[in-house]
């Protein structure tokens, strides 16, 4: 049997057939005009093509506003209390024409954040999310401090460093290119 399988190397034939099929599929799809649905390869050409992120990807903490442009946060301090690394600090305040408390100061120290998403789970008012921003590197330590006002990075917008990562929409679909 051994001599037969050596003289007629069917296993080598099968392997070559498989790799040949993959080669043909990727070669002919990659070197046609780029239509996302036709591409068979898994390479993401990252800076030019936005990354396809999973919907549950946990990026940077971001505060949300409601339809009127009001901050949704009501300072229940649930996120501050549940945070395992204590990166969230909230200062309560009253505001004219608003029944519920208003966060005068909401700071987020990203340098210690472990991106566990406990704060978002604890929030009863859906006022914070972890967005899909993953390019979080910065040159200065201060750039990791985020807040609602003042010198801090803005909590309502993506970090200006991450120019290429505001990619996927909420369904996790990469935009068409």
């Amino acid at each position: 049997m051994s001599i037969l399988s050596t003289l007629f190397p069917y296993d080598i034939y099968k392997g070559l057939k498989l790799t040949g099929r993959y080669f043909g599929r990727n070669f002919f799809s990659a070197n046609r005009k780029k239509v996302r649905a036709n591409l068979k390869h898994i390479t993401v050409e990252y800076p030019e093509v936005p990354v396809h992120l999973a919907p549950r990807f946990r990026g940077r903490l971001q505060m949300l506003r409601d339809e009127q442009g009001e901050i949704k946060c009501i300072c229940c301090l649930a996120c501050e209390r549940i945070c395992p690394t204590q990166v969230i600090t909230i200062e309560k305040d009253k505001k004219e024409g608003r029944k519920l408390p208003f966060p005068k100061r909401y700071t987020f120290e990203m340098e210690r954040c472990i991106f566990c998403e406990f704060c978002v789970e604890a929030c009863a008012y859906d006022s914070i999310i972890l967005n899909h921003q993953f390019e979080l590197a910065a040159y200065n330590r201060e750039d990791f401090s985020h807040g609602t006002e003042g010198v801090f990075q803005n909590m309502f917008k993506p970090t200006p460093v991450g120019t290429f990562s505001v990619s996927a929409d909420d369904d996790g679909n990469a935009p068409h290119y």
């Binding site: 001599i3 050596t6 003289l7 080598i12 392997g15 070559l16 498989l18 790799t19 040949g20 993959y22 080669f23 990727n26 070669f27 990659a30 070197n31 046609r32 005009k33 780029k34 068979k40 390869h41 898994i42 390479t43 050409e45 800076p47 030019e48």
Partner: protein, 382 residues
């Protein structure tokens, strides 16, 4: 017309420069194709950009290459600057020699590896006839025909096989001169491997020699394509697979690359080599691949004719262009076999050493001997 000595020399020089240009274009393209082919097999894209930022020269090159990606065929050639980067890196890299290396042999080894690989091309026929005629206004060689081969040696195949086996001395000497344990092991493995595969390789090439009764490259390739009896297809078919497998072992390519088994021997015989000295080893390996592909396509795949394995004899003259020999057929076959080298590299894992030896001695030598016997029968019947 009788050529003068000057004319002969200048004509040979022109042909040599053309062949060298062919090698120096094909080898870098082969390294580039290797990245791309293996990339596509592994559901990747291969090289599509060069290192650097999004600004400056590299950024501009990368932008151009991204733009190239939108066009069907041009898309494959993204990442082409990587082979230039490879070349620049090899040439400008620091040349380190181990303190206890044998200086002279350490220098000699890459040369011994490279020169035979190039010199083999002298006997390879790219086209069995006249490629073209120089216009009369060209000085010295004006009005002279350009042959599709550099020399037409009567014992061309013997010359090729003899020179090709000199290449292993470069590997062994380089390994020994490095004065280090891993190169030495790699070199000895390579020597044992090449010696054991030289036998079935030569035996598989003997079948065409028996069938044609000639050692002349041109005569053999033309005869094997057109002038065989239909029975000759069988020995040619078996001989092709035996030859191409032994060719893989001869050129130290995957799955027989035990000489540079990087998981065991760092990188085998060229562990201590850096810079352009390593580059010559690299170049000679890829040149040897071209040689093996050229021999296989000339003797087994119908050479300069359209159909392989002697099927060309069934092609009627009414097919016109396809019934004639052409340079393009030969080059296409060579490039296909080079692709097969990359394809096999992307498919098969490395053989264990004893498996390699047993396949060589226990299976290929009997197989090629039987093949030789069949070829002799075919020759006897004809």
């Amino acid at each position: 017309m009788q050529m003068t000595l000057t004319q002969t020399l200048v004509m040979a020089l022109i042909q040599i420069v053309a062949v060298l240009a062919f090698i120096f274009v094909v080898v870098p393209m082969l390294t580039f194709a290797e990245r791309k082919v293996i990339g596509y097999v592994q559901v990747r894209l291969g090289a599509t950009r060069i290192a650097g930022g999004r600004k400056g020269l590299t950024g501009a090159v990368n932008k151009i290459m991204w733009w190239m990606g939108h066009f069907p065929v041009i898309s494959f050639f993204r990442g082409l600057p990587t082979f230039m980067a490879d070349g620049i890196k090899l040439v400008t890299k620091e040349d380190i020699m181990p303190a206890k290396a044998d200086k002279f042999v350490f220098w000699l080894a890459p040369i011994l590896c490279m020169v035979p690989a190039f010199a083999v091309f002298a006997a390879i026929t790219f086209y069995p006839g006249v490629l073209g005629v120089f216009p009369t206004w060209v000085p010295i060689v004006g009005g002279l025909p350009v042959d599709g081969y550099i020399t037409d040696i009567n014992v061309g195949l013997l010359y090729i096989l003899g020179l090709a086996s000199v290449g292993v001395y470069g590997i062994v000497l380089g390994a020994w001169a490095s004065n280090s344990k891993y190169p030495l092991l790699g070199g000895l493995r390579s020597a044992a491997q090449v010696i054991s595969y030289e036998v079935p390789l030569t035996l598989s090439l003997l079948a065409p020699v028996i069938l044609t009764g000639s050692l002349n490259f041109k005569t053999m390739s033309v005869e094997l394509a057109t002038g065989m009896s239909p029975w000759a297809i069988l020995p040619l078919f078996i001989g092709f697979f035996a030859y191409i497998t032994c060719g893989f072992a001869e050129t130290n390519r995957v799955p027989f690359d035990l000489a540079e088994a990087e998981s065991e021997l760092v990188s085998g015989f060229h562990t201590e080599y850096t810079g352009m000295k390593f580059g010559w080893f690299f170049l000679s390996e890829y040149t040897n691949m071209i040689v093996v592909s050229a021999l296989a396509s000339a003797f087994f795949l119908g050479g300069h004719y359209f159909l392989p394995f002697g099927f060309q004899q069934f092609v009627p003259a009414s097919w016109g262009w396809f019934a004639q020999p052409h340079l393009i057929f030969f080059l296409l076959k060579v490039f296909f076999l080079l692709f097969v080298f990359l394809w096999v590299r992307a498919t098969l894992p490395r053989y264990r050493y004893d498996q390699l030896m047993s396949v060589g001695w226990k299976y290929f030598i009997p197989l090629t001997l039987v093949n030789l016997f069949i070829a002799g029968l075919v020759r006897f019947m004809a």
